[in-house]
């Protein structure tokens, strides 16, 4: 039951980003000719332009609203069988979000906010530092010695080496709260699978990971790692046997076993409440950044840069600052072999609106509405969709989205290793590569914070082939 995009070009008129949200009025409104015998004057219809008159800013909008919509994106495009589970999940999430102490619940396990904070601190290793990258900053100084100051938010130091664990840990606790003992997840390269298997081991939950058969071959060690952590890894052979097929299979499993099973979605995609939930579990990144920025330079970041696959690490750092209009938010997607090559994953640049995996968002689709297989050297960015909230922020003009090729990312991978002794994940390297274009445009002393979303030990083998080490 894959939720393929269904798009007809008429319905998906491209909306350009404007500061006032409203639905842009199509330039040729449809004409209606009502049947009046003998007399057919044309009536033209105009959609009300006054729906949103006032200057719209992010504050006035709920992200998401009660239906799980971010503007027109998001929502819950799921079969009936899942609606109850999603509602239950949302309710459990809300109670956890407002809970600071133990609360009783009939038939539910006691789980509290305090427990989550303890786990984040002692198990995951938070707070992650905000690190001043001195040599990288030097590298971007212009001839006159001016240039921005580059800081790295060190999510690479987390347990399991990426930001993914923040969400995995919280969702595992949520599942416990719901009394669910069985966890399922999908994974591409294995990062999210390993993070999920890790938390299931920690909390003693049964864990099933769906992985495309092709991916399993390429990532044999990650498969072994997941099994060592006690998870069952199931191969998915349908479709192209990659991430999107694994996702569909996982959703299928969930529909069948919804009573006993919680589905840990790895990113801010999927049906409501997932985009909101995953963002909430990652927002600690942005919150810490605000605090640390204040400590370090007594102010806020001026520019925030993050890579975008599904969009979770970016939302995690953006969310805190969305309402600070003076903070620029920049997302960087994978341009693979180049935007014109057809082999990329630059959803927000090249995609069109449709529904995928339960949410309305931009996605890479062909004229028939079939999903285009994306490509990126980094598995984590290799997703044909993107979180609905990013689609929303793009259309709102609140955040800007760019893309970086495989080659540029590899260069950035090498650059950070040589200049700072930090090996970034190839996903993160996309964000780092964008600094080459960004920094020359920034005035002296601009504070740039880049979300170093993961470490790159896993990518060294890939990189050496290209970098000829």
């Amino acid at each position: 039951m894959a939720f393929a995009a269904s798009s007809s070009s008429a319905a998906t008129a491209r909306y350009s980003a404007q500061s006032d949200l409203a639905f842009r009025i199509p330039s040729n409104p449809p004409k209606f000719a009502p049947y009046i015998s003998g007399h057919t004057p044309p009536i033209s219809c105009k959609m009300a332009a006054t729906a949103v008159d006032k200057e719209l800013n992010a504050e006035a909008l709920q992200r998401p609203d009660a239906f799980g919509r971010f503007g027109r994106f998001g929502g819950k495009y799921v079969p009936e069988t899942l609606m109850a589970a999603l509602t239950e999940l949302e309710a459990a999430f809300n109670s956890l979000a407002t809970d600071h102490e133990f609360q009783s619940g009939v038939g539910l396990v006691f789980v509290s906010r305090k427990e989550l904070d303890g786990i984040l601190k002692d198990y995951v290793g938070r707070d992650s530092p905000l690190y001043f990258a001195e040599r990288l900053t030097e590298h971007y100084k212009r001839h006159d010695g001016t240039g921005p100051h580059v800081y790295l938010k060190r999510e690479d130091l987390n347990h399991t080496g990426a930001h993914k664990i923040n969400n995995a840990v919280a969702q595992a606790l949520l599942a416990k709260r719901l009394g669910k003992k069985r966890i399922i997840a999908e994974t591409g390269a294995g990062q999210h699978g390993v993070a999920t298997a890790t938390v299931c081991a920690r909390f003693g939950l049964e864990c099933i990971i769906y992985m495309g058969a092709q991916d399993m071959e390429r990532q044999a060690l990650n498969v072994f790692r997941m099994r060592l952590l006690g998870a069952e890894v199931r191969a998915v052979h349908s479709g192209t046997a990659t991430l999107k097929d694994a996702t569909s299979e996982a959703i299928r499993d969930w529909v069948t076993n919804v009573e006993t099973t919680h589905y840990i979605l790895g990113s801010v995609a999927g049906p409501h409440p997932y985009p909101m939930m995953v963002r909430e579990f990652h927002k600690v990144i942005g919150q810490e950044t605000r605090k640390q920025a204040l400590e370090k330079w007594g102010g806020k970041p001026d520019v925030i840069v993050a890579c975008i696959g599904g969009g979770s690490n970016a939302m995690g750092i953006f969310h805190e600052f969305v309402e600070d209009e003076d903070v620029r938010l920049i997302g960087v997607e994978a341009a693979g072999f180049g935007l014109d090559s057809g082999k990329h994953a630059a959803t927000l640049t090249k995609g069109e609106i449709g529904v995928l995996h339960g949410a309305m968002s931009y996605l890479l689709q062909d004229e028939d509405g079939q999903i285009i297989e994306p490509h990126s050297i980094s598995a984590g960015l290799d997703y044909p969709g993107v979180g609905p909230e990013h689609s929303f922020l793009k259309d709102l003009g609140r955040a800007e989205y760019h893309s970086i090729t495989d080659e540029e990312a590899l260069e950035a991978f090498k650059r950070l290793s040589r200049l700072e002794g930090i090996i970034p994940a190839l996903e993160t390297s996309h964000a780092l590569a964008y600094l080459e274009k960004l920094c020359p445009t920034l005035p002296d002393g601009t504070k740039v914070v880049l979300n170093c979303s993961g470490r790159g030990d896993k990518d060294v083998n890939t990189a050496i082939n290209y970098l000829k080490l």
Partner: protein
């Protein structure tokens, strides 16, 4: 010119045995000649009739004596570089001045608030300190007895440090020291590669040239670490053999260019001031643990457990608590395929005193004084010697040392993965393996802190092969293939 042969020239210059403590220690000081590569290395101690008598009438060293010994050692350490009869500066003349300069620079930087401030910031923002003290709930439950009693097990999460091991604490601090001293390039030797990786990373950050020397056998076994070092821009040179050969080569390189180069010792071995320096820089582990223990349970740990290769992570944890005589210090060495065989690295269990790489310490040698090549599945534990300070702590009875076999370590790796979702380095897994023997002997609620000195991503292939082998053996035995026992 290798270090061992040079010792020959200095047999006359050996510091005389410190007899002041001999009355209390009452140890047997045998005459021993240690030979390596055909050269006679200095004979170590002379027998003294007085000590012989003391041996016969020796009673157990009382705990207060132990404290006194520790304090006295600490006081004279700076000047003599000795830990009881261990340690020292057994090096050729050319290096003595260099080491003295290093010692005074080290002393200066320890008292320089600016340096300490910079180091603190780097440890916090670059390395990611403090590392958490994590209550391993499921592991604790696993070791509870039938009545639900057992110790509380905490893990000091050095695996979360940048680079994935505790090595970076020392590598970063020394690289900063080297820069401060005006040195342009760093040379280091590495066994498992963790120290090499940490050094290469620190040098990249500080814009220093970096040469890492590694034994060709090690390079094969830890090829992923070699890639990481190269990625940081370090030059990786290969020598025939393993870590001990790489260390000799690194020192040789250093001697060749004393003005420009800095030899970055990875662990608490070598001539003074290396053991003291490395221990100081690693002692942040213990300092944090003390503070965190107070926060968590308002007290001190009861038992500290750490794996021992050469001893840096163990000393890093122990040093803070060495004067707290109620706290047990337990080191776990590698027993390889078995302590009675040839393939192990249990220096403190099976070694004998001798001089190696510039220091007097226990080391694995045969009856002719030939160095025995150590072997362990935890490559970082393979060193025929051990820190002189640990030799000292063992001798005075302040610390106890046990061993764990390859198999026990591999099983401990799998256990921690399954129960806590943490993959420890195989080195650290040795310390975890000892919990099986330790926990049943401890009272209910005893606080045990295990130094989880590194993460085990680098070891996943080794564990994979081991698991395959095990399941193959099991299926062969019964003709029924069994699922992987984990």
């Amino acid at each position: 010119m290798n270090l061992q042969t040079l010792s020959l020239h200095h047999s006359i210059n050996l510091p005389s045995p410190n007899l002041n403590n001999s009355n209390r220690l009452g140890f047997d000081w045998p005459l021993r000649t240690v030979r390596h590569k055909g050269f006679k290395v200095c004979s170590v101690m002379s027998r003294d009739t007085q000590t012989q008598i003391q041996t016969q009438t020796q009673t157990q060293t009382r705990k207060t004596d132990v404290l006194q010994l520790i304090d006295e050692t600490e006081e004279s350490l700076f000047r003599t570089g000795k830990f009881g009869r261990f340690g020292g500066i057994f090096v050729p003349e050319t290096l003595v001045t260099c080491l003295k300069v290093l010692l005074s620079e080290f002393n200066l930087c320890m008292h320089d608030p600016h340096f300490q401030g910079e180091l603190s910031t780097a440890l916090r923002d670059y390395v990611g300190r403090e590392t958490p003290l994590y209550f391993a709930e499921r592991l604790t439950d696993h070791y509870k007895n039938g009545r639900g009693e057992g110790p509380d097990i905490y893990l000091k999460r050095e695996d979360l440090s940048h680079g994935g091991a505790h090595k970076i604490n020392n590598a970063l601090a020394q690289a900063m020291l080297a820069k401060r001293m005006g040195r342009r390039s760093v040379v280091a030797a590495t066994g498992a590669g963790q120290h090499g990786v940490a050094t290469a990373a620190a040098c990249a950050k500080l814009a220093m040239e970096c040469t890492i020397i590694m034994g060709h056998l090690d390079m094969e076994r830890q090829s992923s670490n070699v890639l990481l070092m190269k990625n940081f821009g370090a030059e990786v040179k290969s020598v025939r053999g393993t870590f001990k050969d790489a260390a000799s080569e690194a020192i040789r390189e250093w001697v060749g260019d004393l003005e420009r180069k800095y030899y970055l010792a990875g662990t608490a071995v070598g001539p003074h001031p290396c053991p003291a320096m490395v221990r100081e820089f690693q002692s942040i582990i213990g300092k944090e643990t003390r503070r965190q223990a107070v926060e968590k349970w308002g007290g001190e740990p009861d038992v500290l457990v750490a794996c021992v290769g050469s001893g840096s992570n163990a000393l890093g944890m122990f040093h803070e608590f060495v004067r707290d005589k109620d706290i047990r210090l337990i080191g776990v060495e590698a027993a390889g395929t078995g302590i009675d065989g040839e393939t192990h690295s249990a220096t403190l269990a099976k070694g004998e005193i001798g001089v190696y790489h510039g220091a007097m310490t226990l080391l694995l040698q045969d009856h002719e004084g030939q160095i025995l090549g150590p072997r362990s599945v935890g490559v970082g534990l393979e060193y025929p010697g051990v820190s002189p300070e640990l030799s000292f702590l063992r001798e005075i009875g302040r610390a106890e040392f046990h061993t764990a076999t390859d198999e026990e370590a591999l099983d401990a790796y799998a256990l921690l993965c399954r129960l806590e979702g943490i993959c420890p380095a195989l080195e650290a897994a040795h310390a975890l393996a000892h919990l099986g023997k330790l926990c049943p002997t401890l009272p209910d609620g005893a606080k045990v802190v295990v130094n989880c000195s590194g993460r085990g991503d680098k070891d996943i292939e080794t564990v994979f092969k081991y698991q395959q082998l095990k399941s193959a053996q099991v299926s062969d035995g019964n003709n029924h293939p069994k699922p992987l026992q984990m």
